[in-house]
């Protein structure tokens, strides 16, 4: 090769290297601005008046009941959506049936609909003036402006997460292992437990993480159906809004950092289980 082309190649290589460095630097900058900076601000505002004020804000009765309500909403919506996601992914990946693509589109509906609309749907269905209103009023059943309404709204906005993780995963994995299991004499449940579930473990865990994070942080839909009864129908995000609106700046950020801490816990749990499983596999491989 001539010296000219050699020089051109090495110049191109350097150019590539420079481009790569710039790109990585830009990515880090974006990460710092969009994620690290807000995190820092939340924590510094929360601790502005010292740890004492910070903890007082957290153990205040309205804050505790908001925490309880958030946890209840999560504890109900996540398992429900795991069951639904598993069932939907199973149907979509193993069977052919009419309306399959409609089902998949409907599962994505909560993504495309504004959360406020989601909340409104429930008001129109279960409110006193709504479709089921009179029926519910007669039996003294309160759905909207009470805990059930909040749980429903949370369930609605988190429907897609588990299903969307599992559907492509299960479609890609196919049905052959399940067929093999049945042929070897496994019952439906045995097949699901011993063959299907271990194979989708990753997708399931990730879906649960996303589902939980969204359930904890949901604001719009819950705000519409909440009624904002202090100490009763306010979740953590709603409580943060209230604190902020009452000139309780520091308390608002303190409760917000509680939300952050919960989110971090979930992520750490996911990391831990991920590493446990990888270690298990590599141990078996070494033997």
């Amino acid at each position: 090769m001539s010296t000219v082309t050699l020089a051109a190649i090495s110049a191109a290589r350097r150019g590539h290297a420079l481009g790569r460095t710039l790109l990585i630097a830009a990515a880090w900058l974006a990460f710092a601005l969009l994620l690290l900076l807000p995190l820092y601000i939340v924590l510094s505002e929360a601790l502005k008046q010292g740890l004492g004020t910070f903890f007082t804000a957290l153990i205040e009765p309205d804050a505790l009941s908001a925490l309880k309500l958030t946890l209840i909403a999560v504890a109900i919506s996540v398992p429900l959506n795991v069951v639904f996601g598993l069932a939907a992914a199973w149907c979509v990946s193993k069977y052919e049936f009419r309306g399959k693509s409609l089902l998949v589109t409907l599962i994505d509906l909560p993504f495309s609909v504004s959360p406020v609309i989601a909340g409104l749907i429930y008001v129109l269905l279960f409110g006193a003036q709504g479709f089921f209103g009179p029926w519910l009023q007669d039996r003294d059943i309160q759905i909207i402006f009470a805990v059930p309404g909040i749980v429903l709204a949370t369930v609605f906005v988190t429907v897609p997460f588990v299903a969307r993780e599992l559907i492509p995963l299960m479609q890609e994995q196919g049905s052959q292992e399940e067929e093999a299991a049945r042929l070897l004499g496994a019952s439906g449940w045995q097949m699901f437990w011993h063959v299907t579930l271990p194979n989708i473990k990753w997708g399931l865990i990730y879906g649960v993480v996303l589902c939980t994070a969204r359930a904890m942080g949901e604001f719009g839909a819950v705000s519409v159906v909440s009624g904002h009864i202090r100490g009763v129908t306010n979740t953590l995000p709603l409580h943060v809004e209230i604190l902020y609106n009452e000139y309780n700046h520091v308390a608002a950020f303190s409760v917000a950092s509680l939300l952050l801490a919960l989110a971090l816990c979930i992520l750490l749990l996911k990391q831990w289980s991920e590493s446990r499983l990888t270690r298990l596999k590599s141990n078996a491989a070494e033997e």
């Binding site: 009624g227 609106n245 000139y247």
Partner: protein, 332 residues
């Protein structure tokens, strides 16, 4: 096995907390700025109620834009009492929800309004844009903060105060409409409730002037320090009358009518009136008003009934779908 045990424990814990809440509760659905008022009032009322030999009562509060709160009560929010920003919103409880009789306003003294307020301007310290009266709000380059009349009661009082001024000064409905249209062109953001607008102006530092309930303005000065803001009283304002009412259908079902009546009546007591005044609401009681006279500026006031034919006429004309507000806001 351990999952089962955990589930049982959780159920036990939940049912225990449900049992504790079997104590009588009263839900007060209120409008946006009254948070501090009712925090203080509820503690006082509970003491009074127990002193009369009753069991302590749990008073639950809900706050939000007045129209939005009325809508929620109609949709099933089980309010025992409503303490909203204007009579028109409580009228809806009768019209749309059949929750309350038509003559509700006659049941308590002073047209069921234990305290009143008015609309003033809150500006930045030093009043850099020299805002003295309503005419300054329509000047170009002035940003006005006021909430959305569709959801907020305070927003509607703001609107009518502006309208009243323009009509008196410029003479006709058409000129008034043009004035208000110009004013809303200067509004960068519409919050759903009065408190939301206050936060936008005070915390987020948006806007040059806040159109606020008088009590909101005073509270902002108190909370944020008088060194950042000042109150400017316009030449004309409106007597804002936020009424209170028992929600008949709900209290009869819950059996809390006696409690609810006592709760609202206590607002008219000397202690109730004093709490209102301390929180910058103008008390009806002449005795207490005299005590706090220096606190409240003297203003020339129009009223909803005399000058607008009452909410029954004003609400549809100005704020319902297709009304004046829709006409001018779309023109934006």
């Amino acid at each position: 096995m351990s999952i089962r045990r955990f589930a049982l424990a959780a159920l036990a814990g939940l049912s225990l907390s449900a049992a504790v809440q079997a104590q009588t509760s009263l839900l007060n659905v209120s409008y946006d700025p009254t948070r501090e008022l009712y925090q203080e009032y509820n503690a006082a009322f509970n003491k009074h109620w127990q002193a009369q030999g009753h069991e302590p009562v749990t008073i639950q509060q809900s706050h939000g834009g007045s129209g939005k709160q009325a809508r929620a009560v109609i949709d099933g929010l089980k309010a025992d009492v409503v303490t909203l920003a204007l009579a028109g919103d409580i009228d809806e409880l009768n019209k749309l929800g059949k929750l309350i009789p038509e003559d509700w306003q006659k049941r308590l003294p002073q047209a069921s309004t234990p305290y009143t307020s008015t609309i003033v301007f809150l500006v930045r310290k030093g009043n850099p844009k020299q805002i003295k009266d309503w005419d300054d709000l329509v000047k170009p380059g002035v940003e006005v903060i006021t909430p959305n009349p569709k959801t907020s009661g305070g927003a509607r009082w703001n609107f009518l105060a502006a309208w009243a001024y323009a009509q008196q000064k410029y003479g006709s409905d058409d000129k008034a409409q043009a004035f208000v249209e110009q004013l809303y062109k200067n509004v960068p953001v519409l919050d759903t409730g009065a408190r939301g607008s206050t936060i936008t102006f005070v915390n987020n530092h948006i806007g040059d002037v806040l159109l606020a309930w008088e009590n909101e303005a005073f509270l902002a000065l108190k909370e944020q320090g008088g060194d950042q803001f000042e109150i400017v009283a316009p030449s004309l304002s409106i007597l804002a009358e936020p009424p209170v009412a028992v929600v008949d259908k709900n209290v009869d079902k819950k059996g809390t009518r006696e409690l609810a009546n006592a709760y609202l009546n206590y607002l008219y007591s000397e202690e109730g009136q004093r709490i209102a005044a301390k929180n910058f609401y103008r008390p009806r009681s002449e005795k207490v008003a005299a005590e706090f006279a220096k606190q409240f500026p003297a203003l020339k006031l129009v009223t909803i009934d005399k000058d607008f034919g009452g909410w029954k006429s004003a609400q549809p004309k100005f704020f319902n779908d297709g009304g004046v507000f829709d006409q001018i806001y779309q023109a934006k």
